[in-house]
């Protein structure tokens, strides 16, 4: 953490992520849940920016915040009557979920703190990647080229488009 400004930005983003995540899964209204998800994703984008991954942050905002959350909102609009609360959770199930989540978190946290240097590692000054470099890496076939996964993802997306159309088509 080279500067206090960065630290403050990090603190805000981290607190936003934690708070909105928890709210997203605990709120009764599903539309609010989607909204909290949006904030969480935006906060994540802030973290990406902070780590000098501007492109990734932009993608995060564009795809997640702009695409996926909008999709969620549409789906919620289509399937829910406004103003209707979700049913309260059964306590049995709730405690089960809490237990599982805490167990997972505990194990991961244990792993994390056992390698304690990560927690307070200094963020090295990033070399900064320009968009040109990323673009050429994406379409490269060298060792650090990503043409094959890129194409695979594009085919997957195509399949998803067709699949989505086929599934959602009115018969």
């Amino acid at each position: 953490m080279d500067s206090v400004g960065n630290l403050i930005i990090y603190a805000i983003a981290a607190i936003a992520i934690i708070a909105f995540s928890i709210l997203a899964v605990t709120t009764k209204k599903i539309l609010r849940s989607a909204t909290y998800l949006l904030f969480t994703l935006l906060a994540t984008a802030v973290i990406y920016f902070q780590m000098d991954y501007e492109f990734l942050g932009a993608v995060q905002i564009a795809v997640y915040a702009g695409g996926i959350v909008v999709l969620f909102v549409f789906a919620i609009m289509l399937t829910h009557k406004p103003g209707k609360d979700a049913e309260p959770l059964s306590s049995h199930k709730k405690w089960l979920g809490v237990g599982a989540a805490f167990a997972g978190a505990a194990v991961c946290a244990g792993a994390l703190f056992s390698y304690g240097k990560f927690c307070c590692a200094k963020l090295l000054p990033g070399s900064g990647f320009d968009i040109k470099e990323i673009g050429s890496a994406l379409l490269d076939t060298d060792k650090f080229g990503y043409l094959l996964p890129f194409e695979a993802i594009s085919i997957l997306l195509l399949a998803c488009i067709i699949g989505g159309v086929v599934i959602a088509r009115r018969r």
């Binding site: 089960l96 979920g97 599982a100 167990a103 997972g104 194990v107 991961c108 244990g110 792993a111 056992s114």
Partner: protein, 653 residues
């Protein structure tokens, strides 16, 4: 005609089996029978030409320079290769006895095919149900029997041995709606199967030590074959003696030697032509044929030979005694068959090696001769019995009596058969039986006298049957039945042909063609033996005439006098009951029951326990498979965490 055609002898019946069995239903009954008979006629022709070429041809090199008749290996294919030396082959071997058997089998089979055209129909000439099946099975049997006699090796012989067993089973059980027929077929199959088990063990022992299945290789040097297991003993006897004894047991099962004879009388439940073909003329002599085939080995192993001798001689007397009191004509004939086959066995057993002594190998020749003549006249007798049964619809002689006036041709044919079996010159049986007796006297006077007594009994019981069928008293035609009469030509023609053969077969110079070593054996009539045997036969016939020609009370008087003996003999000396006792009371109760209990409770129990455990375990965890994705995720996640925790602990420690 070269021997290349010999494959047709097997191919035609086998093809007919498939053809008649598969297409017969479509063809109609009459045509099936006619086609089967014609095909058998073709086979007959080929068999005759092969045998003729073999016995009289000179250009094929069958007779070597020393005058020894060689065996001819017409075909020989490798079939299974176990080791380099131990190879199972399939092929066709022609030598004097197999050529002779070809004649016997094809003749009888053809005549039985012809006879069955009439027999398997009702009075109006309409064929019975299952007619096609019957002809198909007949073809199968003919195929297996021919394959048996031309077998080149002991393993091929075993295969065909089993196949005749199967076809015999199928034909005995032909009337599968009758429980008696089913029991009889099962009995025949199980008993012969049991004997074949010993046969197989014998084959294994033999081939293990000699490294070969081939008859030619075994016969070429029987001494070395025997000495290959030299020094190996088991329970005090040499291994080879055991092997040969086991093989003999296999043959005894098929040939109905005591104590494995019990299936043959019951086998008479099958159609009578089948009895004539299988249970009188051909299949039952398979055991004799087997011993004759391995004769060079047996003759060197006197221990096994003595077993054959004792079993044969005892069976001859035993069966003859039973045959004297049976009232069912087919059963009486069956016991007569057992007795006569035992005769052949005895003749083989008393034979010494060819060239030893003055009459060496005579018994072998006589046995084969008797096999030939017996096949002819016993088939004649059975076919006559078939004609009679077809006419009066009963097996019991009490329903017959006095048929001579109604069925003259059958009566004369039956009489010829009786004279032949009784050994009255000039009928066939005289010559062969006479030579057997000579061979027996050669061995020891005891056996000679013994067999002469059996011959007398044979004459007695045959004429008893004859008189009870055709004379005794006037035939009573039952209400609603028409009078019995001679049958149509398909049934009488075989009788006439066989009767003629029975008359003249004795004059065949058999010793010239069929001998143990291939060299011609010159027989001369041993007058004292011949005359005494004819006298004994005449005494037997006279006794029978006295007792049974006209209705009188002499038989019942004798019966009451020797009541115990009569009852015992009538019940076949309680052999069947003994078997019943042993199988049911001893084997089933004492051996099988505990095994069954063990199987049901311990082995099945273990399996059931496993199954129950699986069931209860799956019932216990069934709740976990709720179909709810969320619980699945929970389990998955917990599992993943656990793995992660374990990994962490391992890495950190």
């Amino acid at each position: 005609m070269s021997f290349d055609f010999s494959i047709l002898v097997l191919a035609i019946p086998f093809f007919m089996f498939l053809f008649l069995g598969l297409v017969g239903v479509k063809m109609g009954k009459k045509i099936t029978g006619v086609v089967g008979t014609i095909a058998m006629g073709v086979t007959l022709f080929i068999c005759y030409s092969i045998a003729f070429t073999y016995f009289f041809g000179t250009d094929q090199g069958q007779i070597s320079a020393e005058g020894v008749r060689q065996s001819v290996l017409a075909y020989d294919w490798n079939w299974l290769t176990f080791t380099d030396k131990l190879v199972v082959k399939l092929g066709i071997l022609l030598d004097p006895i197999s050529a002779m058997m070809l004649i016997v089998i094809s003749t009888i089979s053809f005549l039985v095919h012809l006879f069955s055209l009439g027999y398997m129909s009702d009075e109006y000439g309409k064929p019975e149900k299952g007619f096609q099946r019957y002809y198909s099975f007949l073809a199968l049997f003919t195929f297996s029997m021919l394959g048996l006699v031309v077998a080149t090796n002991i393993f091929q012989m075993f295969i065909f041995f089993e196949m005749v067993g199967v076809s015999s089973y199928l034909l005995i059980g032909f009337y599968y709606t009758s429980p008696a027929a089913i029991h009889a077929s099962k009995k025949a199959f199980i008993v012969t199967r049991l004997a074949d088990l010993f046969f197989l063990v014998g084959i294994m022992i033999l081939s293990y030590y000699t490294d070969t299945f081939d008859f030619n290789a075994l016969m070429a040097s029987p001494e070395s074959a025997l000495s290959s297991a030299h020094g190996q003993t088991f329970m005090g006897c040499s291994v080879m003696a055991w092997a040969l004894t086991f093989i003999f047991i296999g043959g005894a099962g098929k040939s109905a030697m005591y104590p494995l004879h019990i299936w043959l009388p019951d086998a008479m439940e099958g159609p009578t032509p089948v009895s004539a073909l299988i249970h009188a003329a051909t299949m039952v002599v398979a055991g004799v044929f087997l011993v004759a085939r391995l004769f060079p080995l047996y003759v060197l192993e006197q221990g096994s030979m003595n077993i054959v001798l004792v079993v044969g001689a005892f069976t001859a007397l035993y069966a003859a005694a039973i045959a004297c009191v049976q009232s069912d004509i087919k059963r009486a004939l069956a016991f007569s068959t057992i007795s006569q086959i035992a005769y052949m066995m005895t003749a083989l057993a008393v034979s010494s090696a060819p060239g030893v002594g003055e009459e060496g190998g005579l018994g072998y020749m006589a046995s084969m001769f008797h096999l030939f003549t017996h096949a002819m006249f016993k088939a004649l007798l059975f076919l006559c019995a078939g004609a009679i049964i077809h006419a009066v619809h009963s097996n019991e002689n009490s329903h017959m009596h006095g048929l001579h006036k109604f069925m003259p041709i059958t009566s004369i044919a039956f009489l010829i058969g009786c004279l032949a079996i009784a050994g009255i010159p000039p009928f066939a049986g005289f010559f062969s039986k006479d030579e057997i007796l000579v061979a027996c006297y050669e061995k020891s006077p005891l056996w000679g006298v013994w067999m002469a007594i059996v011959a007398g009994m044979t004459a007695f019981y045959m004429f008893r049957i004859y008189y009870l069928i055709f004379h005794w008293k006037k035939h009573e035609v039952k209400e609603g039945h028409h009078a019995p009469h001679d049958m149509q030509w398909t049934m009488t023609l075989p009788l006439i042909i066989l009767a003629v053969i029975s008359c003249v077969a004795g004059f065949i110079p058999f010793g010239k063609y069929v001998t143990a070593d291939g060299q011609a054996l010159h027989t001369h009539t041993n007058w004292p033996v011949a005359i005494s045997s004819v006298c004994i036969a005449l005494v037997g016939i006279g006794l029978a005439t006295k007792m049974y020609f006209k209705e009188n009370d002499l038989p019942s008087k004798l019966k009451s006098k020797f009541n115990g003996l009569w009852t015992a003999a009538y019940n076949r000396f309680y052999m069947d009951e003994l078997y019943q006792f042993i199988t049911h009371k001893v084997i089933f109760q004492k051996v099988c029951k505990p095994i069954a209990w063990f199987d049901r409770h311990v082995i099945d129990g273990t399996m059931n326990l496993l199954a129950d455990m699986t069931t209860s375990a799956s019932f216990a965890i069934r709740k976990m498979q709720s179909g709810s994705i969320q619980s699945y995720v929970l389990y998955y996640f917990l599992g993943a965490i656990m793995l992660a925790a374990v990994t962490m602990v391992i890495v950190l420690i």
